[in-house]
Symmetry: C2
Subunit: 210 residues, 2 copies
């Protein structure tokens, strides 16, 4: 049940659809949503203007498709980064390290499309999508914490949900700091130190304990 063959009838396209979307990702990522013109997309995607409108729609539609594809890739990568054979601390460190590394990749724009640029788009559908994506990210980390509880790595009263939010919000902060030009090395150090902190079992009364 995969009759993918069926060659289309007319002139074949001169571009690959998902490849063009990946190129569009870089365009939006580096210039922001408002900063991107159709000409930028035409040049960056290697797709002629009429084909662009016919196949993808207008700027907003392109951005939404870009966003969804990007979020899927990013989510998969983040999940992979959480899988560490070295245990929980290294999982969290790996997650934060991935955030930093992908936000400071050379040859690509700094920061992150989901964290840095999409939130500024004034569009209800985008906002809804981002809220889900944010919740999904936190759920990913929370799941890792729950696995650790099951494995006996951390106590069963470990506040998994709260700590997951702390991890993902901190990652957001690192990513924004990458955007303003903070060097990768600095951010990686900060990520490691934060990974240590977040595994503290319980922490209601730190001051009194001292």
């Amino acid at each position: 049940m995969f009759h993918n063959a069926a060659k289309p009838r007319g002139r074949p396209r001169s571009f690959d659809e998902s490849d063009a979307l990946k190129k569009a990702t870089q365009v939006f990522w580096s210039k922001g949503y408002d900063g991107v013109t159709i000409d930028d997309l035409v040049a960056g995607m290697g797709v002629g203007r009429p084909s662009l409108y016919a196949v993808f729609g207008d700027k907003r539609a392109i951005f939404l498709r870009v966003l969804k594809a990007y979020a899927e890739r990013k989510g998969a990568s983040a999940a992979k980064a959480l899988l560490s054979p070295q245990g929980l601390r290294d999982s969290i460190a790996g997650f934060l390290r991935y955030a930093v590394e992908s936000a400071t990749e050379k040859g690509s724009a700094r920061g992150c499309l989901l964290i840095c640029v999409a939130p500024l788009v004034d569009d209800a559908e985008v906002r809804r999508f981002l809220q889900n994506a944010a919740a999904g990210g936190a759920a990913l980390v929370e799941g890792r914490f729950r696995d650790a509880i099951s494995a006996g790595e951390i106590p069963s009263d470990f506040p998994a949900a709260a700590r997951a939010i702390q991890v993902t919000d901190f990652a957001r902060g690192l990513t924004m700091r990458a955007l303003i030009g903070t060097p990768r090395k600095t951010l990686l150090k900060d990520a490691e130190e934060a990974a240590d902190l977040v595994l503290q079992p319980r922490c209601g009364n730190a001051v009194q304990d001292f």
Copy 2:
């Protein structure tokens, strides 16, 4: 030594300069840098087009002035929020609470000009300014930690610098999450929980300790 008098010679201005800048702040804050047109500024600042160019310069110059004035106000407010008679935990909580509250104020745009919109401006001077502002924010929190060490509230080997970065980056994360529409109540809860965590004295080997 305050001879401020000296009335200017020609026709008096129909607007107050610093008031116009505050209005410009709202314009940039709500629409982002690229999203703002000169017409937006003319309408929002209550300053005619030629006066705008004569007094403030072009869009970039206006934004830089807005940014600096905004950063000063924000820095002062953040410093005030750190001053708590209730001790360190409440200081940090106050800092995070202020971040959330100012990012979810009704009648104003969500998020924060320094954290959410300025980082996307593709301009070397803006980036330099933001790096300094970020360092200044972290220094503010670190100073509060050092005061707490002096006061004996936390041990002297408390990692003040690292924790200050954790606090400010987490605040960044909260602020970005405010931008995408996360309710204030949720963010305030997250802020309180994080304030507890960050006061943990030392945390190198959490997993082993358990």
